[in-house]
């Protein structure tokens, strides 16, 4: 009995000494700031920042702070509030970045984009895209299987059953970009949320020539360039038969919306009835 106790006590003592020495000698020194930054971050581990999780971003932020710049690193979920706190903690200044939101650039609902074929394979956009053009004649637009809605961790996207297109819930969307990555047709884009959530964008990505695109979908951008001509701010470019509005230059005058013959350019959250006076007011507000 006594022998057993002594033997165990000796083993315990030796083990304790070894553990003590090892823990001192091979201690990994982690910057305490990393832990503190991580506490500030939302902890969603969504990957929207480009790192595997919040700890990755925290490490990168601290490393960046040591080098003197945390430019390009940001948490899309926490937004400016969280990044402000992080910057305070690290003694850095951050540039105010505009809040962004996911925008679905396809307006080809069932009415404007008729089905020309029936797909009965695996019901995911990725599989459907791998087989070709999908159920409509448009080889660029939304496939409607909802890979984006499934990828959203925040429940910010849902498929509209009437149109067959995804809809973004702007209050929930954190602009993490998961849907942008998963969409095989690259329809979803992160765009500036805009003042009062007002945005103007081209809701089409069809690169076919005008006639072909129009045949496939009534709401397609036909690359006519009318929007480019009316734009006073040089915000619109037409490349490969598709118009694109640069959200950093767009002043939301909505001239292009009125000029677009196919209504491919859409505006959201604008008051329904507007007059010139009000338009001027809006402009002043923005200025």
């Amino acid at each position: 009995m006594l022998t057993a106790v002594i033997v165990l006590a000796v083993i315990a003592l030796i083990a304790a000494v070894v553990l003590f020495v090892v823990s001192k000698k091979f201690a990994v020194e982690e910057d305490p700031r990393i832990g503190r930054v991580q506490e500030v971050l939302p902890g969603a581990n969504c990957g929207g920042c480009g790192f595997a999780g919040c700890s990755g971003l925290a490490t990168a932020l601290v490393a960046g702070a040591d080098k003197g710049s945390i430019e390009g690193l940001s948490c899309p979920v926490g937004g400016p509030t969280v990044m402000g706190q992080v910057a305070d903690l690290l003694g850095m200044a951050i540039e105010a970045s505009d809040p962004k939101v996911a925008v679905v650039r396809c307006n080809g609902g069932c009415e404007s984009r008729p089905r020309v074929a029936e797909y009965d394979g695996l019901h995911t956009c990725a599989a459907m895209n791998a087989t070709g053009a999908g159920e409509t004649a448009c080889g660029y637009g939304c496939l409607g299987c909802g890979d984006c809605a499934a990828a959203c961790q925040f429940g910010g996207l849902r498929m509209n059953e009437e149109t067959g297109l995804p809809e973004v819930d702007e209050d929930v969307c954190t602009a993490c970009g998961a849907c942008v990555k998963v969409c095989p047709r690259h329809i979803i884009e992160l765009r500036k949320k805009g003042p009062k959530n007002r945005r103007v964008f081209v809701s089409c990505v069809n690169k076919d020539k005008g006639a072909v695109a129009r045949k496939a979908c009534q709401a397609a951008c036909i690359g006519c360039g009318k929007c480019q001509k009316v734009c006073k701010f040089d915000a619109i470019t037409v490349v490969n038969n598709i118009s694109y509005i640069d959200d950093s230059k767009c002043r939301l005058c909505t001239q292009c919306v009125d000029a677009c013959p196919t209504h491919a350019i859409v505006k959201v959250h604008f008051p329904i009835k507007r007059n010139v006076v009000k338009l001027e007011e809006e402009k002043e507000e923005q200025a």
């Binding site: 074929a117 009965d120 394979g121 599989a127 791998a130 087989t131 070709g132 053009a133 080889g139 076919d208």
Partner: protein, 453 residues
């Protein structure tokens, strides 16, 4: 007579060779012929003609643009209308050359006579010369995958070819193009085999034919009776015997290891009968690859038929020649029902690899709805590569690519036996193809990263 076959897996789909006895006829010339620039595995060809250029039958219109690539030749005479995009059999928009057809004027160098040229009369044909002519004629595998033939004829220095196997298996249901070719041009195919054997410097040739084509077996056995180097091997009917690894197993009783190993790693060079015929024409008649045997078939078509088709002819025209689409739901496939791919419209042109246009009608055009997996293991039994399809499908849908790679997803030959045999009609192959594509991408990126280091 003992019949050979491959050892693991395989299924027995309904035969449905509706057009076996229909003699192949030349299809009418199209009004506009469309030539997609990527009709083969590898880099797309590069156009060498521009809008307004006059071309003849056999004029090169696009040149090979890399080592793994093949030139494309016009199958018609006329004027180049435009270089634009077309949706090809893959479903994607691909760049293509459009030619307005005017008359039927051939290049002078092409020998259009029917006389049979044999290797004995042409001692000047060295192996190098044969490979060069095959390469210059744009010959690619005619069985479907479309790998440039000259590459197969120049095996890597690590491997040594021992024999040439001619693939006359045609295990896909419905398709009869290879069978008709064997019945109508056996002598040319045998000269083609001679040329292939000389090109890879071997003295042994096999011709593998399934037992459901007894006439072809009889005919070719007769024709090769005097030649001890060539042996016709009758094979038991089993899908996918036409897969080259399965064929090597069936004929030589050797197993091709997992990728990157290829049949020549175990000493076999496998070529389709259509390729052998194309090689004959390319070498002996200086006729580049612009024409092929294509079956147009379907249970509800008025008269399923075999055509000698100029490439670039739209599917719709061939279906019209068989009586038009039946008046019901139809699914038009480029290829057979097991591995063929549904096309999006009937303007899709016939390419080098289009061995068949299959029209599935009515209930056949629709899939049955998927039920839960009942763990019966039939897919595992059916897989000719010894994989576990149910597992690969699940891993693919979970996007577990590391595990998927460990489970050898890259060995999958996409034959569809698993999905065919599944009693729950699960989309097993669809899932696996997704995962396989992703894993191939990862491996490619990894290799590229290694090379830049």
């Amino acid at each position: 007579m003992k019949l050979h076959t491959f050892k693991i897996g395989g299924v027995h789909p309904e035969d449905n060779k509706l057009s076996s006895d229909v003699v192949a006829v030349e299809a009418a010339l199209p009004k506009v012929a469309v030539f997609p620039l990527s009709q083969h595995i590898g880099a797309p060809a590069k156009p060498v003609v521009g809008k307004g250029d006059k071309v003849k039958v056999g004029t090169m219109i696009a040149e090979a643009s890399g080592f793994v690539s093949a030139p494309i030749f016009s199958s018609v005479s006329g004027t180049v209308a435009k270089i634009d995009t077309v949706i090809d059999a893959t479903g994607y928009q691909k760049p293509a050359i459009f030619i307005n057809v005017e008359g039927d004027e051939w290049e002078d160098r092409i020998d259009r006579s029917e006389t049979l040229e044999t290797l004995a009369n042409h001692p000047e044909l060295t192996p190098e010369e044969i490979v060069a002519r095959v390469k210059d004629a744009g010959v690619t595998g005619m069985g479907g995958a479309g790998f440039p033939t000259f590459i197969k004829l120049t095996p890597p220095p690590t491997a040594k070819a021992e024999c040439v196997i001619i693939n006359g298996v045609e295990c896909e249901p419905y398709i009869t193009a290879d069978y008709r070719l064997m019945m109508e041009h056996p002598d040319e195919i045998l000269v083609g085999l001679d040329l292939l054997m000389k090109a890879v410097r071997v003295e042994k040739g096999f011709i593998g034919i399934e037992e459901n084509k007894p006439e072809a077996i009889r005919l070719l056995t007769e024709k090769t009776a005097h030649d001890p180097r060539v042996e016709v091997v009758p094979l038991k009917q089993k899908y996918p015997q036409g897969g080259e690894k399965q064929l090597v197993d069936a004929v030589m009783n050797r197993q091709v290891p997992a990728p990157p190993a290829i049949p020549v790693s175990v000493g076999a060079v496998v070529q389709n009968v259509g390729t052998a015929y194309a090689v004959y024409q390319a070498v002996m008649k200086r006729k580049p690859l612009f024409e092929r045997y294509t079956t147009v078939t379907g249970k509800r078509l008025d008269h399923p038929a075999n055509f000698i088709v100029r490439m670039g002819t739209p599917f719709g025209q061939l279906i019209e020649a068989c009586g038009g689409l039946p008046d019901c739901d139809n699914k038009v496939l480029a290829g057979g029902p097991m591995m063929g791919k549904a096309v999006l419209n009937l303007d899709v042109p016939v390419c080098k690899g289009t061995n068949s246009v299959t029209v599935l009608s009515g209930a056949d055009a629709h899939r049955q709805s998927a039920q839960p997996c009942i763990r019966c293991g039939k897919c595992v039994e059916a897989c000719p590569m010894g994989l576990e399809p149910y597992l690969l499908a699940t891993l693919s849908s979970l996007k577990d690519y590391d595990r998927l790679e460990k489970e050898e997803v890259t060995s999958c030959i996409s034959c569809g036996s698993c999905q065919f045999t599944c009693p729950s009609h699960r989309p097993i192959l669809d899932n696996i193809l997704q995962g396989k594509g992703a894993v191939m991408g990862i491996i490619k990126a990894r290799n590229a990263a290694k090379q830049t280091k």
